[in-house]
Symmetry: C2
Subunit: 353 residues, 2 copies
């Protein structure tokens, strides 16, 4: 419970590509909203440099040791997008900084809220964030040139904690319904365990309804405006969460519009779910990148550390500015305004009420 | 090449639930279109009974031995939906008949065409159909009560044959573009092999463009009318194919609207991609089930065995009747017409031109 803490350390990680540009704007907004408590030293905002692809490549680590040490000193982290090296491109084959951070800080719950207000859609996805095909040690083997094997890992405690988080939230938020998504008809052992665990936990929450669907039919249901309203809280193993939340964010208006919270027992990290868009930087258009997704993530961070009033204000101001955002900061188009102008406009709006 | 064959054996499998009802209509249409060649004994249509869930449960086999023997005698099979047992329901824990048939008959390529004519969308999905989490021996282990592991298997020959099929089709159809979908940034060994194999094969087809996307962003792209037109031929490992084709079918108008071809070197099986809808049977509404998806599958079958003219006629007639279908055979609603009436109307339309 952060409200009882004397001091809160917020780390801000710029990341790659457009990351430092949009993160800077989000930091300005945080500083604006937390001004008094920064003044009084209750809150410190610390810039953490060095999580760049150049640095990671140079030391051949997903997260350089000194950066990891700094991250571990923070209570909460706001993170810009990081470039994931791909086979065949110029970077060495190191793990995604994102995936590594989730594992190193044990950020087991990935929360992604998605809203389609005009349809009354208000989903909260609870993606398991450390297991499945992403688990430590699941790297797989090339048995020979002809045969490759990968592993999927699901643990009982790992399933339990994310499923319990989803049920707790469903109960407290009054949403009172949890949908479990697996492919337990085929991926029987691991997804079977996840689904069985959910069925057991559901018994402890008699006032929360539970249903379950397979991932294939779930992607179809989300496309259908008549059927998607039925979903409230959705809990999924890592890979399905990865897939479904991108689809859902697109339905909300684009993967660039969603924020994502990565939450563990000791740390929490907040980020935009879009990528680092290196092309925008190459083309000299980085200052036009839309910071609204990472600012939304900053709002989730504020909420998480107990600054709910500020989070609420920010959310309202973002709503007000979203028209402006659509018209002026046309994502990545240099005929619109810059991210800086957007943040200024947002802060003006914030000071008005 | 079926055009050179003296005799073609078509097996028709009713399956479960609404399966026998809709399959019967598709069989009538096949008999109507192949009348002369059935008369002359060039084509035989053979009914294969016994692939019902009751039977499979009784002998505790995904496919009873006698049924499998009969299936193996057919060149091509038209199959109604079969019920997949789920943990917790009344059936024993046997494998999906579908998945078993794909493996037993080595039907390695699952082809699913999806069209959104008003947008100019004309996708053909090539889903690998025997490997990944579906492979023989990938059943997984419960290491102990706390730890479950599943395996994902990708072979070089298995990847090669499906990717080659996709490139061949892209070249011959004039579509000239193949999109490869994986999650090779995380599922590095198996998906990495699939993607690497695709890159190698692409070199043999200099006139076919290739691009690749991760499965998460691909589900998002399909939702966006502005970005989905770029896709033509898409090749994917088994599980991603399962997920994406359901989403795509829904975009076309519902999972009930797509047919699916499962193709191997020796056999081929054609089916609707919707389920067996046991509830419709329980409620006495099975005769109202819409047979158009399995009739589309029958059209794919005709095409495959060289009756391209008949397939073309059928496709046009289905187009003409689709308005009727929407108005009268309201899928599963007993205020519409029956599947039988729809098939009659379709055959009337077929005889008219
Ligand atoms: C970059 C990638 C490894 C990552 C994931 O798969 O988790 C991303 O898609 C996400 O959803 O945060
Ligand atoms: C029933 C199920 C096992 C099957 C699959 O996952 O392949 C189905 O979803 C399909 O797409 O044919």
């Amino acid at each position: 419970d952060y409200s009882k803490k004397d001091h809160i350390e917020i780390g801000v990680v710029g990341g790659d590509g457009i990351g430092p540009f949009i993160t800077k704007e989000a930091q300005r907004v945080l500083e604006f909203l937390l001004e008094d408590d920064i003044e009084s030293n209750r809150v410190t905002i610390r810039n953490i440099d060095g999580l760049t692809i150049e640095n990671r490549a140079a030391c051949h680590r997903a997260i350089p040791d000194d950066v990891l040490a700094e991250l571990k000193q923070c209570d909460v982290i706001l993170k810009g997008p990081t470039t994931t090296p791909r086979k065949g491109d110029k970077w060495p084959n190191i793990e995604s900084a994102n995936v590594a951070m989730r594992k190193e800080l044990d950020l087991f719950a990935n929360l992604r809220p998605v809203k389609i207000p005009e349809e009354g859609v208000d989903w909260t996805f609870f993606r398991e964030n450390t297991e499945g095909g992403y688990a430590v040690g699941s790297e797989g083997v090339n048995v020979n040139d002809d045969l490759a094997i990968d592993f999927t890992v699901t643990t009982q405690p790992g399933s339990e904690r994310i499923i319990r988080a989803a049920f707790d939230y469903a109960q407290k938020s009054g949403k009172k319904k949890v949908t479990v998504v697996t492919k337990a008809n085929v991926i029987k052992t691991t997804d079977g365990k996840f689904l069985d665990t959910a069925k057991e936990i559901a018994k402890e929450y008699p006032d929360v309804e539970m249903d379950d669907w397979y991932i294939d039919i779930m992607t179809a249901k989300l496309v259908d405006p008549k059927r998607r309203q039925q979903f409230k809280v959705v809990v999924l193993p890592n890979l399905y969460g990865d897939i479904i939340t991108d689809e859902a964010a697109e339905l909300q208006g684009g993967v660039g519009t969603a924020g994502s919270a990565n939450i563990g027992k000791k740390h929490a990290m907040f980020e935009a779910i879009h990528g680092s868009a290196p092309r925008m930087v190459d083309e000299g258009r980085a200052q036009y990148a839309d910071p609204s997704s990472i600012i939304k993530a900053a709002g989730m961070l504020l909420n998480y550390i107990g600054y709910t009033e500020q989070a609420e204000k920010l959310s309202k101001a973002l709503q007000i500015c979203s028209e402006f955002e659509k018209k002026v900061v046309l994502t990545g188009r240099s005929d619109g305004g810059t991210g800086d102008e957007f943040a200024n406009y947002l802060m003006e709006t914030l000071s008005r009420d």
